[in-house]
Amino acid sequence: MAEHENAPNDSIIVCEDVHKWFDDFHVLKGITTSFEKGERAVICGPSGSGKSTFIRTLNRLEEHQRGTIVIDGVELSDDLRNINLIRQEVGMVFQQFNLFPHLTNLQNITLGPIRVRKMTKSEAEEIALSLLERVDIADQAYKYPSEISGGQQQRVAIARALAMEPKIMLFDEPTSALDPEMITEVLDVMRELARSGMTMLVVTHEMGFAREVADRILFFDEGAIVEDAAPADFFDNPQHERTKLFISQTLQH
């Protein structure tokens, strides 16, 4: 009986009829969904369907123009205090890593804890070093991002997000900019994160990862959620024509 629609208490993200326009272009056309604590959702869909835009509205990198988004009980609005609160709870990992090139890997990670969480430098460095250990690149702490590989950079970026001790992690195609041999090392880190119970929303084309890790797969098309199902149902018994086409196309190669 207690489906997630009816039990908002457990939901850490609740979206109600979210709309977004870029000028006249309707990108998100009424997204209504919610995510529970510890849930691992994969978001997929064709290019330009609004996947990035959707997860970017969740930490207000994009502003939505209609509907409501509530993150861990706090509604996203123009209120700057709420935005800052929510950004501390929501970590984000970008396709292009977006590490700060003028800071060492360690400083990339400690910046947020020191400036936002007001930790002392030594506390923050302790946490940063243990996170680098966790993503398996402790030996790269004092190098600059330009001196390490793409896969390592993305792992630093994950550590940077984790250093803020977020309750939710958003990933926007975290492996799309990587050479094939580096994809595994990043996915391994994400698998480990999933096992640790983190709430994760992952936009990705890695269907193997989706099938293995996700509790739920959401399929976006033209700014709307077309299919929302457990991986087994999604791959073996898709309901919507667009989903069937997408699955047959992605599984071909």
Binding site: N59, L61, V90, F94, N98, R115, V116
Partner: protein
């Protein structure tokens, strides 16, 4: 095809390879670069002939005809203009304040600052060796001693760095007060002149126009239309008007707008130069800001940094670093442009040069005097340019 695996021997081979060393002698370099084709041979020969005749004429003049006596005879004038002789200790006090700060900074930061302090100490030392009056040589020697002592005291005390930065900030008003003095003994700013005036105008201009320019650039990028428009209008207006016009307007308009305040001419010119330079500075900085990818802003926001923190820790360090050459170019231009204040009657370095020439005692010595002034301008401008290159290397511009 890239190989995924190498045999042990292959790997040792690849590791043992070193890039071929570039050790060419100077003769080889000249041959390769200046005499490699028939037209380069022709051009090089022409250039050599020109250089030969020009330098021959110049050197002959400099060592046989030129009457350099005009320079030492007017050295104090070149240095401080009409600043009264019996108050000259004020200028030396200012130099000593700066020596203390430079010495302490050199001790605490080392590297480039240290080398700067050593060069500065060397300059004072040479001054002490030159045949000036005994008291002047004493002042020079004092400067050497103070720089060295401060350097020694500051050695390795990195914890005190913030205090020294504060000291530099405070030194600014302090220097003005020391130079001016109080009561009947005070030195009117209308008597400030020569290199002293040139440097004061340049330093005020640089130190104030830089943050102002950064601020204007940030405003020009603001999301709020009103702020953006005001800043854009200011920048475009200033850039559309020659500096001379702004100096004239500053001279006349500032007293009209602020009738209660007695703003002296030096300050007025300092303000005018600052406001002028800030507009150009803003455009330089804007170039740097636009080069920062949007992802940097987004990543900063995503970890919860607010606007000020994002700018301070992420955007500006990268943006400013990338435009150091342009910014220093602007500093150099400003330094040279201070010579325009002669137009409204201030006697800066160039003004002194002109008044020396106008003196019947030194009639007909334009070439000597102007050349001397040019050399002074060059030494300062080139030092800034050199410093900028050093800073770029130290920060690794274009690397990280």
């Amino acid at each position: 095809m890239r190989k995924a695996y190498y045999t042990v021997e292959e790997r040792e081979l690849t590791q043992a390879m070193k890039p071929p060393a570039h050790t060419k002698g100077p003769a080889r370099w000249i041959k390769d670069n200046l005499f490699n084709t028939w037209y380069n041979v022709l051009l090089s020969c022409l250039a050599l002939i020109c250089i030969f005749f020009i330098s021959k004429a110049l050197l002959t003049w400099a060592f046989t005809e030129a009457k350099w006596g005009v320079i030492p005879a007017n050295l104090q004038l070149f240095g401080v203009g009409a600043y009264p002789r019996e108050q000259i200790w004020r200028v030396w006090s200012v130099i000593y304040i700066l020596c203390v700060l430079v010495g302490l900074s050199a001790g605490m930061w080392g590297g480039l600052v240290f080398r700067f302090a050593v060069v500065l100490g060397g300059v004072w030392f040479i001054g002490a060796l030159l045949p000036f009056e005994l008291s002047t040589r004493g002042w020079f020697l004092g400067a050497v001693a103070i720089t060295a002592a401060a350097l020694f005291l500051g050695r390795g005390r990195t914890a005190l760095r913030p205090w020294i930065l504060g000291g530099w900030l405070l030194s600014f008003p302090l220097i003005m007060i020391v130079l001016r003095g109080f009561g009947e003994n005070s030195v009117l700013t209308s008597n400030w002149g020569g290199l002293l005036l040139t440097l004061i105008l340049a330093v005020v201009g640089i130190v104030v126009s830089f943050p102002l320019g950064v601020f204007l650039a940030l405003c020009r990028q603001s999301n709020l239309p009103a702020i953006r428009w005001v800043s854009t209008a200011y920048i475009e207006m200033v850039r559309g008007v020659p500096l001379i016009t702004i100096l004239f307007m500053g001279n006349i308009l500032i007293p009209i707008f602020m009738p209660g305040l007695d703003i002296n001419q030096v300050l007025r010119m300092g303000l005018a130069i600052t406001f002028f330079s800030a507009a150009y500075m803003a455009e330089n900085v804007r170039g740097g800001l636009q080069g920062i990818p949007r992802g940097q802003h987004e990543a900063a926001q995503a970890i919860g940094l607010n606007y000020v923190q994002t700018m301070l820790f992420i955007v500006l360090p990268q943006a400013l670093r990338s435009v150091i050459p342009a910014i220093v170019g602007q500093f150099i231009a400003l330094f040279k442009d201070t010579s325009l204040v002669a137009i409204i009657g201030l006697i800066d370095l160039l003004g002194v040069a002109r008044s020396v020439i106008a003196n019947p005692d030194w009639f007909g010595l334009q070439a000597e005097v102007y050349l001397f002034a040019a050399i002074i301008y060059f030494v300062f401008s080139y030092s800034m340019s050199y410093g900028s290159q050093e800073i770029e290397t130290a920060l690794g511009v274009g690397e990280h």
